[in-house]
């Protein structure tokens, strides 16, 4: 079947099997390998990206379900203004080690801050609780998101 998905603002049209998972579409068909895959059971969140602005686990969505929708991936976080504060926060606070969970964590973090610019530690922990990191023990991820909350995007400051 033919599927057209707007990924990071660009339309990607491909013939795919109906069972193709969105994570595979994004990685293999669109060639955007920043979105990772880490489990068979929707537990790890390495595959987290946005569909129509909602953070979702893309291993749990069929590409066909995203047909005609907008997908945003980690590759879109950096803009002409530079790194997203979430990306900068992960660097500043050592919020990553192997980097495998990081794109998914950052997509959730950006989603959280867009909806709740000043989250409490509890709210941050809750927001990332569907995602697993094996390296950091989460403390610095929480701090990275707090850092990003304290350093809003220039566009947000101006708005």
């Amino acid at each position: 079947m033919q599927v057209t998905i707007t990924i990071n603002g660009e339309q990607v049209t491909r013939d795919v099997e109906p069972r193709t998972l969105l994570v595979h579409f994004v990685r293999e068909d669109a060639g955007l390998r920043g979105t990772h895959w880490g489990c068979d059971t929707s537990n790890c969140g390495a595959c987290t990206l946005w569909v129509d602005g909602q953070a979702v686990k893309s291993c749990t969505v069929l590409a066909a379900q995203a047909d005609g929708h907008e997908v945003t991936t980690v590759e879109a976080l950096e803009t002409a203004d530079g790194l997203d504060p979430v990306q900068q926060g992960f660097i500043e606070c050592h919020g990553l080690q192997c980097g495998f969970c990081t794109p998914g964590m950052m997509m959730t973090a950006r989603w959280l801050l867009d909806h709740n610019p000043n989250p409490s530690e509890e709210e941050i922990r809750e927001a990332i609780s569907g995602q697993i990191c094996r390296c950091t023990g989460y403390k610095n991820i929480v701090e990275a998101i707090q850092w990003a909350a304290e350093h809003p995007k220039t566009s947000e400051v101006n708005a």
Binding site: G34, T41, C98, G137, V142
Partner: protein
């Protein structure tokens, strides 16, 4: 080395030496530009999938692959029979169906005669897409004849137990190591037995015996294992992109397995999404991707599912331990005796130094001063996945530390003594270092009491005890758990330590370009440790070159010198030392060149960071960058001095380094539900010099989460039929942000006297040290119910059962 503020900053704002520096690697990772194995796509590449056994033990009568082969898109289906037909001029075994393990055992690449664990590799499908390869698995018809599985290690040596390794002509399930031993002993058997017997007879002494199980767990890095193999038939060059913590060691194994010449094999380990020991072993999947490329002439990619990762790749622990500790009633420890039944699974696939078949478990005497210790470890085969040394265990020091720290708490309970006080009474004293332990380890340095007092202070220990007493009076159950651990990390020296005959020493090369920029080539392999950052800092510290001017190359056997790789916390102790030594060689050569340029004797020169200058005339000097250019220029050099500024070395560590620490965990337990909440975790580590404290602390955080997971949640158990009960993240529970507290870290710094920069390994300290702290805290909380011990994982159900006095068996689903 705590005086970080004294380190000068580079133009980019990085410390020219040790201190907190943002990681070089992060720039690509935060942009989603990491390059992991599954991101590698080669032209014409095929995909693959492995058919795995549903049975733990079964005879294979026949395999029919015809329907799978007929599926459009399937390129080839490979079975064990086909592999058996491929002869090889091999050092180990004579056909492709079997491969050597890192412990001189053999392991089936694809099962031929029997399957020996659930999830074992049975057939390999190569197809044009991963989806088609998976579809084809459904079409393979295997006629299995189930055999009784041996799932309970305690019954593996029963006379009526099924024999698992009949392929080797075995008549029972014992394991014999390369030296012909069926059990592994250390320490003083007679002295220990006598000391314990004497204590038993002495009314002023106590003897406590406790069974302690360290159940089977799994490292589960977020990235599963995988590989992309391409054999170029024209050049004969095999390139393997793979998830490997030890690319050079893997290359040698492939040379043995495939009979390919080593110089025609290039192993590339790109970005690795976490290892924790899971990516040390050589797995059938890697070998099959190579075979697939040989058969098809195309690149073949193999990527594991999470289920495959959990059920078939290197597990950790599975040690049934019985410990006996004798002490005076004043709390002076006299002796410890340990008996271990070690479940190694169906193939002895542990990755550890040859002379240490029980790993470094023999360091179990711990951080305490007593003369008599002895242990005996007896390994057995069972119908479970192979492995055993993984999950940041420092070659089984995890098990050792867990055992001694549980025993000390049991002793404290028996004596009615505070566990902190009991530890302080027995800790090794600074003047005892270097200290030779009763089992022969030479601990390099430590200030144990100081470190423990820092931890007690940070925790507010006395206040916590007061709070606990008040809460108990109200019927609330909080617990405080302490663990004091000592690790030995950084294997070799090479004369004592090898893996498959490869001595554990590591090469390194440093080249300073004409413009003063440098490239450092490492044998060790980062899986998230940030070698590209910290190794540049070591060179910067030694030579004064800004770290941003130093490129660190690793993970490619064609581009790096030989070495044994990264596991057992060995990177900093071995290759970190190598980086300092090779820098000093360059510095020595730079001195000669500077002297030639300044027309003086090298002896007249003095070093300050980044520069040689004439003693007494600070203005006259040459920077390392000047010298780099001079070394490549036309300056006349003294007799016997070659041009250019570069050096290499192979670092053979004189001894292990011995990091240690004191951890304190505070928990609240709901006795009605058995639910445990980790309220606080205080971790004070002493790993000697800290190259990049931010990175050290990050690694400690990760290890603490591991420990909380193992103590409370993680478990690979089996039912009696051989089914793995931890085959997905729905069953194998890993800690999330909700279970982990906001850790409180502290440090003391006692440099290693034999390491060039005084550093010790730290990558596994927290994984080793934290489980006993959590378990001790939970047991402390529920001790009013008369509980002295309960095995991990302390899930709500298990805690509740312990409180109710019901028996718990964690490794087997038996009631």
């Amino acid at each position: 080395m705590t005086a970080i503020e004294e380190v000068p900053l580079s133009p980019a704002g990085n410390p020219i030496g040790f201190g907190n520096m943002k990681r070089v690697e992060d720039q690509r990772f935060v942009r989603g530009q990491g390059n992991y194995v599954d991101d590698v796509n080669l032209p014409g590449m095929l995909h693959s999938a492995i058919l795995r056994s549903p049975f733990a033990h079964a005879k294979i009568n026949s395999i029919d692959t015809s329907a799978a082969e007929a599926l459009p898109g399937v390129v080839a289906v490979i079975t064990g029979k086909i592999l058996e037909g491929i002869p090889r001029p091999s050092l180990l075994g004579d056909n492709f169906a079997w491969m050597p393990t890192l412990s001189y055992d053999t392991q089936a690449v694809l099962a031929t005669d029997k399957v020996r664990f659930q999830g074992q590799e049975v057939a390999f499908v190569i197809a044009t897409s991963r989806y088609i390869a998976k579809d084809a698995l459904e079409l393979i018809d295997v006629d299995y004849e189930p055999l009784p599985p041996v799932m309970d290690a305690k019954k593996a040596m029963d006379p009526d137990a099924a024999v698992i390794r009949d392929d080797k002509g075995q008549t029972d399930n014992s394991i014999t190591d390369v030296h012909g031993h069926k059990s592994w002993e250390s320490g003083n058997a007679i002295g220990t037995a006598e000391a314990i017997a004497k204590a038993e007879a002495d009314p002023d002494c106590v003897v406590v015996t406790q069974d302690v199980m360290y159940p089977r767990v799994h490292p589960s890095p977020m990235e599963t294992c995988g590989s992309v193999a391409y054999l170029d038939k024209v050049t004969g060059q095999l390139t393997l992109y793979t998830t490997s913590q030890a690319p050079h060691a893997h290359r040698t194994v492939y040379a043995m397995v495939a009979g390919l010449p080593e110089h025609k094999i290039r192993v590339i380990s790109p970005d690795v999404g976490g290892g924790f020991g899971n990516k040390v072993g050589v797995y059938p999947g890697y070998v099959l991707s190579i075979v697939g490329s040989i058969v098809t002439g195309k690149p073949v990619k193999w990527i594991e599912d999470r289920n495959e990762n959990l059920v078939s790749t290197s597990f950790a622990r599975d040690y049934h331990m019985k410990g006996t500790i004798a002490a005076t009633k004043e709390g002076k420890i006299l002796a410890v005796d340990v008996d271990v039944l070690a479940d190694h699974g169906a193939f002895n696939g542990v990755a550890q130094p040859t002379n240490y078949p029980a790993g470094f478990f023999h360091i179990f005497s711990g951080s305490y001063d007593y003369p008599n210790a002895h242990c005996k470890v007896t390994p057995v085969y069972t119908n479970k996945a192979p492995g055993g040394v993984a999950y940041a265990c420092s070659f089984r020091i995890t098990e050792a530390v867990y055992l001694i720290e549980r025993l000390v708490d049991c002793l404290a309970a028996e004596l009615g003594m505070d566990p902190a006080e009991l530890r302080l009474k027995n800790l090794l004293r600074p003047e005892q270092f270097p200290y030779t332990s009763p089992t022969g380890w030479v601990y390099d340095s430590g200030q144990y009491e100081k470190t423990m007092r820092v931890a007690l202070e940070m925790a507010g220990y006395d206040e916590l005890r007061r709070e606990q007493a008040e809460k108990r009076a109200r019927g609330e159950y909080m617990g405080i758990g302490i663990s004091f651990f000592t690790e030995g990390v950084g294997a070799g020296p090479r004369k004592d330590m090898d893996i498959l005959g490869l001595g554990m020493a590591d090469g390194i090369e440093l080249r300073v370009h004409p413009t003063g920029k440098a490239v450092l080539r490492l044998s060790v392999q980062s899986q998230g440790q940030a070698h590209e950052t910290t190794y540049a800092q070591i060179v910067a510290h030694e030579l004064g070159i800004p770290p941003e001017d130093i490129e660190v190359v690793h993970g490619d056997t064609d581009q790096t010198p030989f070495g044994l790789g990264t596991y057992g916390s060995r990177s900093t102790p071995v290759s970190g030392a190598a980086a300092a030594v090779v820098s000093r060689k360059v510095k020595d050569k730079a001195r000669i060149i500077a002297a030639a340029a300044l027309e003086c004797s090298p002896d007249d020169l003095e070093w300050e960071l980044g520069r040689w200058f004439v003693k007494g005339d600070k203005e006259r000097g040459k920077t390392i960058q000047d010298i780099a250019l001079l070394s490549h220029g036309s300056l006349e050099l003294p007799e016997g001095v070659e041009g250019h500024l570069e050096a290499m070395t192979v670092y053979n560590p004189p001894n292990l380094t011995y990091p240690y620490g004191c951890y304190i965990c505070v928990v609240d337990v709901d006795p009605g539900t058995g639910q445990v909440k980790v309220r606080r975790f205080i971790a004070v580590d002493d790993c000697g010099t800290r190259i990049n404290p931010m990175i050290v602390e990050g690694q400690v955080h990760g290890g603490l989460a591991d420990g909380i997971g193992m103590a409370l949640m993680e478990l690979i158990a089996f039912d009696e039929d051989g089914n793995c009960l931890g085959g997905s993240f729905m069953d194998y529970l890993l800690p999330t942000s909700m279970e982990c507290p906001d850790y409180e870290l502290g440090e003391t710094v006692t440099p290693s006297p034999h390491h060039p920069i005084g550093a010790k390994g730290v990558g596994e300290s927290a994984t080793v040290g934290s489980p006993p702290a959590v378990v001790n805290a939970v047991i402390d909380a529920i001790s009013p119910f008369g509980v002295r011990h309960a095995d991990m994982p302390l899930t709500p159900a298990n805690v509740w059962r312990a409180i109710q006095g019901r028996p718990v068996r964690v490794d087997m689903a038996v009631e």
